[in-house]
């Protein structure tokens, strides 16, 4: 046993009290769905956790109707202070049930328990707590006095941070006075359904939040529903395009938080110890299933060899395995489909001439796993430097001057995030100015906070989530609704149906 071998330390699942079947959460109660139910499995073992109802068009229609009723009769008439109190209650209930939620999240998603326990779930509580306080202060949100809510928000979230993405969507929507129909990703519906139980404990009025499970067709039904006023989506750029097409010509508002291919720029004067940890956190956090992951490492040429050697050394100490083990660094890839994509793109990387390296690591026999992987000798035209892998795969490129680093960093249709590592503050500020990305981390990476706006430039989407800016996505100025003169074209709304079949991620 080397000093890096640890005895297993699995978090107990005894804290969970799961049902074998989950219905849809509509109008405050669980009801049967009318689509074909599906199983949600643990990606680490491929064992079924529970059977989940699937919402068809009629179910979505009932959910939207419930949200509309709740909006008209209750939520839009309630004082901001009372809306805030409900959100504070939810924040507290999440804190009280934090361990249970973390275990369920790691079980269903495959992410290490240390991440769900220390990052996802605490941020969920923080998100509700932050927006709770906004509910009675909307005059200060930047939309002028007495801003109006939008109505029913249809929200579609990905599988990489299931409960956290739910919080990012629901908390600002409710604070601003909207009601919600939310669809979790089909591979990770579990914590959203536990959250529905929390809403029952909070005694949230029926219909204010409705949770419908299902695949792309369910999402499409939400996006295209005529009584939905606002669409909020986090997932792939491809599905995002389909949604943008689908809402064309309607008066729906939309925010899209899509893919990324972030540059993580390391200058030769960077604090190397911190930078190595930051690079690892930037791409291997959550198995790289992070839209803002630092998947393109841009290293100044003079320190390339040192950085790559130190990275390899550090990666050799990462522990891959049981997501519920408290010592695990790298959990399971969320699904067979995603594993397939990571493998395909990595094979292409090799075929295109990049050098592939992974540490020796034992891959469990069941479940979906991919070892942490580094590609060196990567050029900007390689697909692993252009396509979002959404897995634990780092591409290493080099640069000589800040101008070259900036040009390479911006050489992507995406623009979600970027990292800068340097000891020189003036250089950080100058480089940050030039990067076309919505979130920039200087000498850190993958930090999230409810007070901090998050969202992309270019094809990484539009709108911001988090902070005061995040409220703008759910508010409009009092009495200044824009008049749209032309009527929507009849066939425009059909175009998303084909594209949103692809699973939201």
């Amino acid at each position: 046993m080397s000093f890096l071998d640890y005895a297993p330390a699995p978090e107990s699942t005894a804290i969970l009290n799961l049902k074998s079947d989950y219905g849809l959460f509509i109008n405050g109660e669980f009801v049967d769905g009318h689509g074909t139910p599906f199983a949600t499995i643990s990606p680490a073992t491929e064992k079924t956790i529970a059977t989940i109802a699937s919402a068809n068009d009629e179910d979505v229609d009932r959910a939207v109707a419930a949200a509309r009723r709740a909006y008209d009769k209750t939520w839009s008439r309630m004082s901001g202070a009372d809306r805030g109190k409900y959100l504070f209650r939810i924040a507290r209930l999440v804190q009280e049930r934090a361990r249970e939620l973390a275990v369920a999240e790691s079980l269903d998603n495959g992410k290490p328990i240390k991440e769900s326990r220390d990052v996802d779930v605490p941020l969920v509580a923080a998100w509700f707590f932050y927006y709770a306080g906004w509910a009675d202060k909307l005059d200060y949100a930047g939309a002028g006095a007495n801003p109006a809510s939008l109505g029913v928000a249809g929200q579609i979230i990905p599988w990489n941070f299931p409960l956290l993405m739910l919080a990012w969507k629901i908390a600002p929507a409710l604070a601003a006075g909207n009601t919600v129909v939310l669809k979790p990703a089909e591979t990770t519906p579990l914590t959203a359904l536990l959250f529905a139980e929390i809403l029952q404990q909070a005694d949230l009025p029926p219909g204010v939040v409705n949770i419908v499970t299902g695949a792309g067709a369910t999402g499409s039904a939400i996006v295209n529903h005529p009584d939905v006023n606002k669409v909020a989506f986090t997932g792939s750029t491809n599905v995002g395009r389909g949604i943008a097409r689908a809402i064309a010509g309607t008066d729906k508002r939309v925010t899209l938080e899509l893919g990324g291919k972030a540059a993580n720029i390391v200058f030769d004067d960077a604090p190397i110890d911190q930078a190595i940890e930051g690079i690892v956190n930037g791409i291997f956090f959550n198995q790289g299933h992070v839209c803002c992951a630092g998947s393109r490492l841009l290293v100044q040429e003079s320190i390339h060899d040192e950085v790559v050697d130190r990275l390899k050394e550090r990666l050799s100490t990462l522990r891959l395995g049981d997501p519920l083990d408290k010592n695990t660094d790298i959990g399971a890839v969320n699904s067979a489909a995603q594993l397939d994509r990571i493998r395909t793109l990595s094979d292409i990387g090799e075929a295109e001439g990049a050098e592939r390296w992974s540490p020796d690591c034992v891959i469990p026999t069941d479940g979906f796993w991919f070892p942490p992987t580094i590609f060196t000798n990567v050029s900007t035209s390689h697909r692993i430097a252009r396509d979002e892998v959404f897995g634990p795969v780092l591409s290493v490129l080099t640069f000589r001057t800040p101008a070259e680093a900036i040009a390479k960093a911006n050489n992507t249709p995406y623009g979600l995030s970027a990292g800068i590592w340097s000891d020189k503050g003036s250089r950080i500020l100058a480089v940050a100015d030039k990067l076309r990305a919505g979130v920039i981390w200087a000498n850190t990476f993958n930090r999230f906070d409810p007070a901090s706006p998050f969202g992309g430039y270019k094809e990484s989407g539009y709108g911001r989530e988090g902070g005061r800016h995040g409220l703008a996505a759910y508010l409009k100025p009092a009495g200044t609704a824009r008049t749209v003169t032309a009527s929507p074209a009849s066939d425009a709304t059909d175009s998303a149906i084909t594209t949103t079949k692809e699973s939201a991620k």
Binding site: N443, R447, G467
Partner: protein, 286 residues
């Protein structure tokens, strides 16, 4: 003895120059009663693409100019317009068929809107950005930045005011613009470009196309190097198809507006064409 007038040749405005349409096409601009006024250039797809290239080239200079500098440049446009009020009034009277006082009101309002927007250049960041109190040792700041190259369909029923009302707010943050002028009333747009060319606006920051909005806009809506599409004046076009085309590269889209005062001055028109950048800086532990 009356003097024989020297009529103006109306051309496009691309990259700070006044080319004819590469297609060689023109179309007849007439008064409200149908009398001939001028042959305006009828811009083609190639002209539109040239204009995008010019706008992209001008972007970094304009976006990185200091806000004070951008404010002064925008203000100078108002100064020059003021000096040429009579010319614009005459042009509007003959093209729109309105009274001189109505034309004067339009010109005055257009000038005043330049002044109003010019003043925002060094303020909108303060009003719409903020410091974020995150839970950790970080200095965290959100600031708006220009979206990039903006393609605009100007309001179609206004010679000057509509055009100014959509172009000025896009310029405040540092975007560069390709604008399709009113098809029926294009003359003031080209006269405005003469003002722009002799003010301090760098070439390529504003590019003005005349011709058929219905023909040109689809090329701009689908152009991969355009970041935002302002359809304020596109109500009469197949604008839903334009919005669908824009979705392919996830352009920011401003939908058509109706009503009498299109694109009324507002901070929203500035911020709609900006992106919020949030930078996290570590603080050392001392």
């Amino acid at each position: 003895m009356s003097r024989l007038a020297v009529p103006k040749t109306y051309k496009l405005y691309i990259g700070g120059k006044f080319p004819r349409s590469e297609s060689g096409r023109t179309y007849e601009v007439v008064t409200k009663r149908g009398a001939f006024l001028a042959n305006a250039a009828k811009a083609s797809r190639k002209d539109a693409r040239d204009a995008v290239v010019a706008a992209r080239s001008a972007l970094s200079g304009w976006a990185n100019a200091t806000p004070y500098n951008r404010g002064q440049v925008l203000y100078r446009i108002a100064e020059l317009l003021e000096g040429r009020r009579a010319q614009f009034v005459d042009e509007i009277v003959s093209s729109e068929g309105v009274s001189a006082s109505a034309a004067t009101r339009q010109v005055d309002e257009a000038i005043d809107r330049w002044v109003w927007y010019a003043g925002w250049a060094d303020k909108y960041v303060q009003v719409t950005g903020n410091a974020n109190p995150v839970s950790g040792p970080y200095f965290n700041l959100s600031v708006p930045e220009p979206t990039g190259v903006v393609a605009i369909v100007a309001p179609q029923d206004s010679s000057l005011l509509g055009l100014v009302s959509v172009v000025a707010p896009a310029l405040v943050a540092g975007n560069t613009v390709v604008v399709i002028a009113s098809e029926r009333l294009p003359l003031s747009a080209i006269s405005l470009s003469e003002v722009l060319a002799t003010s301090d606006v760098p070439g390529g920051v504003v590019n003005i196309l005349t011709g058929s909005a219905g023909e040109i806009t689809p090329w701009l809506a689908s152009h991969a190097d355009v970041n935002a599409l302002d359809l304020t004046g596109a109500a009469a076009l197949d604008w839903v198809d334009l919005e669908i085309a824009a979705a392919d590269t996830l352009k920011r889209v401003l939908r058509p507006e109706g009503g009498t005062d299109l694109a009324a001055p507002s901070l929203d028109r500035i911020t709609a064409l900006t992106e919020t950048k949030t930078v996290w800086h570590t603080k050392s532990l001392i």
